[in-house]
């Protein structure tokens, strides 16, 4: 391979960079027919990304407790272990090696291929978890909504680790998700714990199925949630963009003109416009007629002759020369002879000469 394709460049997280490795893991797993977990039902790409960002914005040094490993066949474990903050990850070990559904080996093999430090990953049984995490403060718990009595489980973990944040993956729509109903019932408004659905944080997160439960006084959780919200809030509202797009389409269809031309409320307005249009049309016609007249005049013999004479005069007697002054005098004399007679011209000449001599 060529080195040009291997030069590493620093990146910011995106759904692709977070979920890409998980997709690859799933593809490898499917290819080798190792086991088939319905990962998509629990771990959505957007939710994986949000969980990743939550680890990013967590003010402490979070420890991940992955109780969804079994439901996601290890994909959620990868989400934690591959995080650049390198949190410690405690994941449910699941079926023992040799079992068709065992995922531990696949996860470890995948991580080894990527040269990832496996010492941060601890496989435990569900019962060993509470003992292992005793005393930890910044714990993020991953839970799947399709576990039985998930609301009770959330409460149990928050009782054990009061400063923990529990992320519940795979919550459906209100009214069609029993887990969501149970969580809302267990953590109502005013209870010491707060259930937040990340899809409420912004319109672009509407596809999220991730819920977050933490103590109401857990400032780390609240700060993290607000920072997540800010990461998806811009100057644009999608409703206004939608409005702009639809308005533009309607404008392009020309329906404004149809309404203006046919609706009764525009009758008076249309009449005035029509009158103005008629006046404008008349003015245009008049201007065209005048222009036509001018054009005819310009083509007439007399006009052309006068133009020609003027040209010759400019050639023979340019302005500000004695020839021009002579020409002007002759022209004036001819005008006087024509209008007043030859004697009048003589009289004027005599009078001017006398005035000069005095």
């Amino acid at each position: 391979m060529y080195p040009v394709f291997h030069a590493p460049r620093p990146r910011l997280p995106s759904v692709l960079s977070v979920f890409g490795p998980i997709e690859q893991y799933q593809a490898d797993r499917d290819k080798r027919s190792l086991f088939s977990g319905n990962t998509g039902a629990v771990l959505e790409p957007l939710d994986a990304y949000l969980a990743h960002l939550l680890v990013n914005v967590h003010p402490g040094e979070p420890v991940l407790l992955d109780l969804t490993a079994e439901q996601t066949s290890g994909a959620s474990t990868l989400l934690g272990v591959l995080h650049p903050r390198q949190p410690r990850v405690f994941a449910v070990g699941g079926p023992l090696p040799g079992d068709r559904r065992a995922y531990r080996g696949a996860v470890e093999e995948f991580l080894q291929q990527r040269n990832t430090d496996l010492s941060l990953l601890h496989w435990l049984s569900y019962d060993e978890m509470s003992a292992a995490l005793k005393g930890e403060t910044d714990v993020l718990v991953f839970l799947a909504a399709n576990r039985p009595a998930v609301d009770a489980e959330v409460e149990q973990w928050l009782n054990l680790l009061p400063s923990a944040i529990v992320l519940v993956f795979g919550l459906g729509a209100v009214g069609s998700c029993a887990a969501l109903d149970a969580l809302v019932q267990r953590f109502p408004t005013g209870s010491p714990r707060r259930l937040a659905l990340l899809r409420d944080s912004g319109e672009v997160l509407s596809a999220s199925r991730l819920g977050m439960v933490a103590g109401r006084d857990n400032t780390a959780a609240e700060t993290a949630r607000r920072r997540l919200q800010q990461l998806f809030t811009s100057n644009y509202s999608f409703l206004s963009l939608l409005r702009l797009a639809t308005e533009q389409a309607i404008r392009a269809s020309g329906s404004d003109g149809v309404v203006r031309g046919s609706h009764g409320s525009f009758l008076e307005w249309n009449q005035e416009i029509n009158q103005l249009k008629k006046a404008a049309q008349q003015a245009r016609a008049d201007a065209e007629a005048a222009f036509e007249e001018l054009r005819t005049l310009k083509h007439s013999l007399s006009y052309r002759l006068s133009e020609r004479f003027r040209h010759w005069r400019r050639q023979l007697a340019p302005d500000q020369t004695w020839r021009y002054r002579l020409f002007r005098g002759l022209r004036r004399s001819a005008q006087i002879v024509r209008h007043e007679g030859f004697f009048c011209l003589l009289r004027r000449i005599v009078r001017r000469c006398l005035r000069r001599s005095v």
Binding site: F5, A7, S14, L16, P45
Partner: protein
């Protein structure tokens, strides 16, 4: 990553790669045209995706892309947000690495594809086994609705060794570009010209398809208009590499004057 790369090479389909650097206001237009193209391709049972590579933009593009990815990841919109700014050649090489499918349509963030014609370009690429096919680009000003010029509107000829007249806005076969080492990342301008010359001298086919591939928008202070010195430098470098002895006109060139239309064949 390497494994992922090679799996992708075998998958028939089209990745529309959009390198972006501070084009927040123009990205929606480009992405919309890319989505329309995906719909057209899916109508013909061709899978596709949109891969946007953001080169550390500062103008709000990363936030916009984060939002769009959150909304449309399932529909095939993928985003790579880089934390430092590299060259356009680096972006295109990243697209070669991260694309899911074998064929890549390179679309700049300020341009627009013509979705109806992309399937014909794909057919042309598959039937000719070319490394790259390209077509007419209709040149527009930022908001005009009519074209006032054409770009990329001639087949490859020897004059390509003198100057570039083919834009990077084209459809390429990722396998062939991979095999030839991708874009030369040392170029800070005209990396596309270098790539076409590289393909041509390596005997690959670069084919002109007489259809409109997209709209090319001319913008004030765009990279093409402000990179004068870099472009001259790149041009002389390409001259030195590919035609130092001015002998190319007297040598055979497989791709010379290749024009192909899926309905007509070569003509």
């Amino acid at each position: 990553m390497v494994a992922q790369m090679w799996t992708g090479l075998a998958q028939e389909g089209v990745t529309i790669a959009i390198p972006n650097w501070n084009h927040e206001l123009l990205l929606p237009r480009a992405i919309d045209s890319a989505f329309q193209t995906l719909i057209r391709l899916r109508d013909e049972d061709v899978p596709g995706e949109i891969l946007i590579i953001d080169e550390a933009s500062r103008d709000g593009s990363p936030l916009l892309l984060r939002q769009l990815e959150a909304l449309y990841y399932r529909e095939g919109l993928r985003v790579l947000l880089l934390a430092d700014t590299g060259t356009l050649a680096d972006s295109r090489n990243l697209a070669l690495v991260h694309a899911r499918y074998r064929y890549i349509a390179f679309l700049d963030a300020d341009n627009e594809l013509i979705p109806e014609n992309v399937p014909s370009f794909l057919r042309a690429l598959q039937e000719t086994e070319a490394a790259m096919v390209y077509g007419n680009l209709l040149v527009r000003t930022p908001t005009s609705r009519c074209a006032m010029n054409l770009l990329s509107n001639e087949s490859v000829q020897f004059k390509l060794f003198q100057r570039n007249y083919i834009d990077a806005f084209s459809l390429v076969d990722r396998c062939q570009l991979f095999d030839l080492g991708g874009y030369e990342s040392g170029y800070r301008a005209l990396e596309d010209h270098e790539m076409w010359l590289h393909l041509a001298v390596n005997g690959r086919k670069v084919v002109f398809v007489p259809l409109a591939f997209g709209y090319y928008y001319v913008l004030p202070s765009s990279m093409a208009t402000t990179s004068g010195n870099k472009a001259m430098e790149a041009e002389s470098r390409s001259q030195r590499i590919y035609n130092q002895l001015q002998a190319r006109d007297h040598l055979p060139l497989n791709t010379n004057l290749l024009r192909f239309h899926p309905a007509l064949g070569y003509f």
